[in-house]
């Protein structure tokens, strides 16, 4: 009998690991003020703040990034392992561990961005989440001067890879129901004891 493979899970594992590697080189979301005077690279994998050309990292965010790196690594590897043995008794545990994490990461990343931008808007600084806009700082921040700058924000390739990974993980979960369906012997199907055991 041909070995069963959850191909969606396999693709999800590969895309998750590729996304992880690409995220080391490019952030998920980038905000640029003026001609790179301020540059914010936001990503669960690596977040940095470039202010006047000086790169700053916050240790707490760095630790959170390390958590995300380890989580995505484990998630990708375990999803790959699961996809190769989807019919094993413990496959469901492996899938349960790995399929939700990319989705949670994407949703919480976007939610956090929206919350931060809403807070900035509350203080009179309206920053776009995607696209460009001329942002004017409130006069109370600038001693009466009018300071405005072109602000550009964009979701980059690793973010879309993460969205793809999340979608594939969900697909793998749905496909798992089909691929891991127990093969029932026609004779056993009529045996109430076997039916009860399968349902349990």
């Amino acid at each position: 009998m041909a070995r069963k493979i959850n191909w969606l899970g396999f693709a999800a594992g590969i895309v998750t690991l590729v996304m992880l590697v690409v995220s080391f080189f490019e952030p998920w979301w980038r905000l640029t003020v003026g001609q790179n005077l301020i540059k914010i690279n936001a990503s669960p994998i690596y977040t940095s703040f470039g202010i006047f050309g000086t790169q700053l990292t916050v240790p707490l965010i760095w630790a959170a990034n390390l958590v995300a790196i380890l989580t995505f690594s484990a998630c990708g590897i375990i999803m790959l392992i699961y996809s190769l043995i989807p019919t094993k008794p413990y496959a469901n545990q492996l899938l349960g561990f790995s399929y939700k994490k990319p989705l949670y990461a994407v949703v919480s990343f976007v939610a956090l961005l929206v919350i931060i931008l809403l807070i900035a808007g509350h203080f009179g600084v309206y920053i776009p989440i995607n696209g460009s806009a001329t942002v004017t700082l409130p006069g109370s921040w600038t001693s009466g001067a009018t300071v405005s700058a072109l602000v550009s924000a964009a979701f980059l390739l690793p973010f879309w890879l993460a969205v793809a990974a999340a979608a594939l993980c969900l697909g793998a979960k749905l496909f798992h129901g089909t691929i891991a369906k127990p093969i029932v012997n026609p004779e056993a199907a009529t045996n109430p004891a076997v039916i009860a055991a399968t349902a349990a």
């Binding site: 005077l37 050309g53 700053l56 240790p59 707490l60 630790a63 958590v67 545990q93 561990f97 405005s148």
Partner: protein
């Protein structure tokens, strides 16, 4: 199956706890530093050894290499045409290239009487840490200059800059009014024959 579940639970906890524990241990003597690293504290406090007193509140003054622009020569004024130029030195304190696309202002007396306009003739780009001489040029009304020179022959003239527009690094700054300081040698400037 239970072993797998327990193993995955332990892995989940370890992935979260170990990096945070390492970070807390690394900063155990300065827990504030976990959230606010020294560079950010420095920027927030405006600490700067290079800037002079009185510039501490400026965001630029918090940059380590910031220096107040220095005069790079005497102001030049041609009383026949009214042409004026004033060169000054500016050092880019940033680690990134800095470009001045626009710098313009109206020069006026402290009473608001316009004397003329100044601007930079072309965009200037300064490499990180490099020094550049920026020449502000403009036209000052000769009649006004002579009149003010006579008026302030024995004193000083406080001048102001109105409608100051600066575009630096893609950031537009507009200031309605700046007290630019005093000119004590207006008469000599008015008598000057030097051109730009």
């Amino acid at each position: 199956m239970d072993k797998v579940k327990i193993g995955l639970t332990i892995l989940s906890i370890a992935i979260i706890v170990i990096p945070l524990a390492i970070e807390v241990y690394a900063y155990k003597d300065n827990l504030e530093g976990i959230v606010l690293p020294p560079q950010i504290q420095s920027l927030m406090n405006g600490n700067n050894s290079g800037a002079t007193a009185g510039t501490q509140s400026s965001p630029l003054a918090s940059l380590p290499n910031f220096q107040i622009p220095q005069s790079a020569g005497q102001p030049q004024y041609d009383p026949t045409t009214g042409a004026f130029s004033y060169p000054f030195n500016f050092t880019n304190p940033l680690s990134t290239q800095l470009s001045f696309s626009q710098l313009s202002a109206q020069v006026a007396t402290e009473n608001g009487t316009p004397i003329g306009n100044i601007s930079i003739p072309q965009a200037i780009s300064i490499a990180p840490g490099a020094n550049s001489i920026i020449t502000a040029v403009g036209n000052l009304d000769p009649t006004m200059v002579n009149q003010l020179a006579a008026q302030y022959q024995n004193g000083t003239l406080n001048i102001a800059l109105n409608n100051v527009n600066v575009v630096v690094g893609g950031v537009n700054v507009h200031i309605d009014h700046i007290d630019a300081g005093s000119i004590s040698s207006l008469e000599s400037m008015a008598n000057s024959t030097g051109g730009t």
